[in-house]
Symmetry: C2
Subunit: 229 residues, 2 copies
DNA sequence: GCTCTTGATCTACCATACAAGTCCATACTA
DNA sequence: TAGTATGGACTTGTATGGTAGATCAAGAGC
């Protein structure tokens, strides 16, 4: 056999289910499928050129997170945003992430601590340029790094699952440069408290940060009441 | 039309997927499928007399909770118990349930407050008789009622998903009557703190209760190291 | 003896076909 | 006109066949 053109291909082909799940998740968060939208398994299947099965399995995963609601024999629809649900999302995320920073004040992986600095630098630069996408990505990296630093990646997965609802709301609230700047500052405050090994301050900093994120929820509710239930 | 024999049948036939999911979940928690067991879609399908599809969907749900691990093209196996994972389970449950009792100290649904008394009575009676099953059921009802009382059923769902791991470990630790009695007392202490509107005491009572549950983890780890990773 | 190939045999994954429940517009009836 | 069947066009749920990837053991070649 002469000169195989293709490498042994050790890369793992992502399964159709995984792809569809991720695509749908992003589409819902970005409000390309607005709350209340009817999703037909067949429709989505033909849209992504796969059979109904992977779509169906993706919808099961998304329904566990609470992004869609499957009504047996009737249909599947993108869940509307409910203030009652959002309250619990905030409570849950606050509870989990304050637990993380509390542990971070006791001991924190030094390697990850170092990487956080570069994340914050990137984010600060993006804030100065008003680069919304980079800001958001860095925000996720930051919170993820906090969890990794205390060896809590399973808790981070839980946070991700509730965070997705907050992200959907954030897509409704246009972020101005000022609030971007505030975001970075709040991140710095959290890190400072951790470095100082001050649990109370870290707790307060994290709570302040998280409520800030949904400051504009009431305004959005008034403007787009059709997205809420 | 004469006397229709069958009622309009408003009851919803539980789908095969739901049934299999629940059966598997219980079987894993009860260690009928011990940690490390290989689960084949086809095998389980024939065991429950359904096709592979419902089984597959059930396994997807269980893998999201972390009870099974799906290795693409290789197999599915019941996850082993890892101390690293259990640490996070405890942290997560503590974080969520202390958040619940904190809110319960502010305001708590009076109807549900009343129902808690009867739950505790049932549990106390079961403890006296050493009725393990009733104790466990009442325990779940108690914690669930706390969440409902502050309108946090979504958080309760999250608690259930992590609690399942603790339940699996508890099936390894034989419960003596003394520890049953302690359990009921701890429940009473939590309720008393809530009634007194004392957040600090409620917080401490809940944490004490939750760490108690896994007091015997180290002993079990030594005895059944094959269940751990 | 050791490495590599090959093939049998597992697995999860995906596509397709069928079944069953729900909804709705239409037509029929009183 | 109001009310009630009824059939069809949806929906999700289930069953089954086939495919690709992973593993492992036996055997060929060095």
């Amino acid at each position: 056999m002469q000169a195989p053109l293709a490498a042994p291909i050790p890369i793992r082909m992502p399964s159709a289910t995984r792809v569809v799940t991720e695509e749908l998740r992003q589409a819902i968060v970005r409000l390309e499928f607005p709350p209340g939208t009817r999703l037909s398994e067949g429709e989505i299947a033909s849209r992504y050129n796969v059979s109904r099965q992977p779509v169906r399995e993706a919808l099961i995963s998304l329904s566990r997170i609470g992004l869609v609601q499957v009504l047996p024999q009737r249909g599947t629809l993108v869940t509307r945003i409910s203030t009652r649900h959002m309250k619990q999302v905030i409570i849950a995320r606050e509870a989990l992430e304050t637990a993380v920073v509390a542990r971070a004040c006791e001991r924190f992986d030094p390697m990850i601590r170092a990487s956080i600095d570069s994340i914050l630098e990137t984010q600060a630069r993006a804030a100065a340029e008003g680069d919304h996408l980079t800001i958001t990505a860095a925000d996720t990296q930051f919170h993820g790094a906090l969890a990794s630093g205390v060896d809590c990646d399973m808790i981070w997965q839980m946070v991700l699952d509730v965070k997705v609802h907050m992200d959907r709301v954030r897509h409704l609230t246009l972020q101005d440069r000022e609030s971007m700047r505030v975001l970075v500052q709040q991140h710095r405050a959290i890190v400072a408290a951790i470095d100082a090994r001050d649990p109370e301050r870290a707790d307060r900093a994290m709570r302040t940060h998280l409520v800030e994120i949904l400051r504009d929820l009431p305004r959005v509710l008034a403007e787009r009441s059709d997205y809420f239930e």
